[in-house]
């Protein structure tokens, strides 16, 4: 048998390092031993307990609502920004790019603390709106970058053709630009939703009494790690995996090819 190469060993170690904790979490979610000191036999009890825990349910609902709102707002910011960047002059473009990357590069804790102080200063009550605002600060930046990459592959020729055929600015956007951007819009939406769903730092600063799921888990773990926390984490993991596999399957078949042909069409048009 061939001796495994150094690269293979490193890859294996990295994978173990990445996935071992997740596997441990999932395993412990089924651990019958309450203190998690040792394996106490398999049980589904913790899942049912977590699912029936009103605190968990309300936190999950808060997270989902925040993530949905965050997705909608981020796209509403990112799509016009990406389209505008195409026509902007070099200086305006530099300002847009600068502020976009700034929102990603800036340490999250700094942005969160800043927003926290701002809301306190203006006496704005912490809660759902502030959570969403805090998330949108960075999620909209990621969405903008994804959409800008897609917009860069489009030429204005198709929009000109639409104008030539009688479509005004809004109709051109609805019938031509948006459909061509759709793959990037879907990818950006998924990314934003996940980022918002599992954000801890910003939520911790800005949630007030409205607790999101990651903040709840963080709070539960401060004293001791219970199997129930493991069950919640495992549940969220499975949910994320299912969502992503579904969307990947959808995207891979449809938008994967339409991305390629779209790029080809716009390349041919230049």
């Amino acid at each position: 048998m061939k001796r495994p190469s150094g690269l293979a060993i490193i890859t294996l170690l990295v994978l173990v390092f990445l996935f071992a904790p997740i596997i441990v979490v999932v395993l412990n979610a089924f651990n019958g031993n309450r203190t998690l000191d040792s394996w106490g036999g398999a049980t589904g009890h913790w899942f049912s307990q977590a699912f029936h825990d009103p605190a968990v349910r309300s936190a999950l609902w808060v997270s989902v609502r925040a993530a949905l709102a965050c997705t909608a707002i981020s796209l509403a910011i990112a799509i016009p920004a990406a389209l505008w960047a195409r026509r902007a002059g070099p200086r305006a473009r530099a300002v847009l790019d600068g502020t976009t990357y700034m929102r990603i590069v800036l340490p999250e804790v700094v942005a969160a603390a800043g927003l926290f102080l701002l809301f306190r200063r203006i006496n704005f009550a912490l809660g759902m709106p502030t959570i969403i605002a805090g998330h949108v600060v960075f999620t909209s930046a990621y969405a903008t970058i994804i959409l800008q990459a897609r917009v860069a592959t489009l030429t204005t020729t198709l929009e000109e053709a639409a104008a030539d055929l009688g479509a005004g600015p809004w109709r051109r956007f609805r019938r031509v630009t948006l459909p061509l951007l759709r793959p990037a819009v879907i990818v950006a939406a998924l990314l934003v939703f996940t980022f918002s769903m599992d954000d801890v730092v910003t939520s911790a600063f800005l949630s007030g009494d409205t607790v999101t799921l990651p903040v709840l888990i963080f709070g539960l773990m401060r004293f001791h790690v219970t199997p129930e926390v493991n069950a919640i984490a495992a549940g969220v993991t499975v949910l994320t995996l299912v969502t992503f596999s579904l969307s990947a399957a959808l995207l891979g078949v449809r938008t994967g090819t339409s991305m390629v042909t779209g790029a080809r069409a716009s390349a041919a048009a230049t």
């Binding site: 020729t157 198709l158 053709a161 639409a162 104008a163 030539d164 055929l165 009688g166 069409a265 048009a269």
Partner: protein, 374 residues
């Protein structure tokens, strides 16, 4: 290729009346990009129902002119009048003109039917009326069975016909075509030229056709405009442009031409007296008006106006540099002392085949030549 299907535009089309305003009028139109003047003070009238071609090398301003008429480019100066109405300040979607774009610019996310239906949907045509009209247009462009096809499944020629149908279905007063056959191979180009010409004479819409291919323009057009450096150098019938060019630039652009330097000694446009610079011989030839005695001029000789191995008329002696047999004609390159290399074309099936290096005579008649200003 395109079946002669009945179409509503046929019945709607009346013969152009004499007092109608021009389909398109460009009134001192200029367009500058930064400091470059792409189009420089253009004046042009297109008659209703005519097939007009703008030809010129790339960058001569012909596409910019087209885009200004379409409303995709704002002129920096001048007015654009379509069917008597000043549309200079009107955006593209509000103009009664449609464009067939250079690379078709078909919508990749829509099928053939929806591409053709695009403009009608903007006009709120729906349901059965929409289906009927799109169906008729697909028949006109010979794509009845491809309505559900995706754009990327079509060949270049088919895409071209979708682009044509998408524009024609809106029954524009003027159809603008920007090098629509540029991406097709030669045989298909010839085919599509015929198709375009037939469609144009059938629907009676004014066509403004932009191309760098003068043969293509000649084959289809009622009139041709030659552009260079943003200026319209000459407008006329293909015969005018080819036989009676206004300038050496036009003569050079439309087809191969030989230019001999000469000096005008007198006479008028019907027959100028000339002295040939190469050997001082005197001859007489028609030419463009306005050449005064003493003016430096160019004698334009088309390759087919020259005869190899003939001694009738004016004869130039030279050495054969190259013989190219092209099938429909044989092309000779002859080096003549003081005149440079002349191109001679002979389309007779029994054209002589001398070998390179041979001493040959090249003969021409002054009346087949054309004089332009140097």
């Amino acid at each position: 290729m395109i079946p002669t299907a009945p179409h509503s535009m046929l019945e709607a089309n009346d013969p152009p009346a004499t007092d109608v305003p021009p389909a398109v009028r460009l009134d001192e139109v200029s367009c500058a990009f930064g400091t470059t003047l792409a189009v420089d003070n253009l004046n042009l009238d297109l008659a209703t129902g005519e097939f007009f071609s703008l030809i010129g090398a790339s960058g001569c301003g012909k596409s910019t002119t087209l885009r200004m008429i379409a409303g995709l480019q704002r002129p920096t100066q001048g007015r654009i009048i379509i069917a008597g109405r000043d549309v200079t300040d009107l955006s593209a979607e509000k103009r009664e003109v449609n464009t067939v774009f250079q690379h078709y610019a078909l919508f990749p996310h829509l099928n053939v039917f929806e591409n053709v239906a695009f403009g009608l949907r903007e006009r709120r045509v729906r349901g059965r009326d929409l289906d009927r009209r799109v169906g008729e247009m697909l028949e006109v462009v010979g794509l009845s069975d491809r309505g559900h096809a995706r754009i990327r499944e079509l060949s270049g020629g088919q895409q071209q016909r979708v682009a044509l149908g998408r524009s024609l279905i809106l029954e524009p007063s003027v159809l603008l075509l920007d090098e629509p056959l540029g991406a097709l191979d030669l045989k298909l180009r010839r085919q599509m030229q015929l198709v375009l010409k037939q469609v144009q004479s059938r629907v009676g819409i004014t066509f403004l056709y932009v191309t760098h291919d003068q043969e293509e323009a000649f084959a289809m057009s009622d009139r041709v405009g030659v552009m260079g450096g943003g200026v319209l150098a000459q407008v006329g019938t293909p015969q005018d442009i080819y036989r009676r060019p206004d300038s050496a630039f036009v003569a050079d652009f439309v087809g191969a031409s030989n230019r001999l330097a000469a000096t005008v000694t007198g006479g008028g446009p019907g027959a100028y007296g000339l002295t040939l610079a190469a050997d001082g011989r005197r001859l007489s030839a028609p030419g463009t008006p306005g050449l005064a005695a003493g003016a430096a001029a160019s004698l334009i000789l088309r390759p087919e106006a020259l005869r190899l191995g003939d001694r009738v008329g004016d004869v130039l002696a030279g050495a054969l540099v190259d013989v190219s047999f092209l099938g429909s004609q044989t092309v000779y390159t002859v080096a003549v002392e003081g005149c440079g290399q002349l191109t001679v074309a002979d389309s007779r099936p029994d054209a002589p085949m001398p070998s390179a290096g041979d001493q040959v005579d090249v003969a021409f008649d002054g009346k087949d030549a054309w004089v332009v200003a140097e």
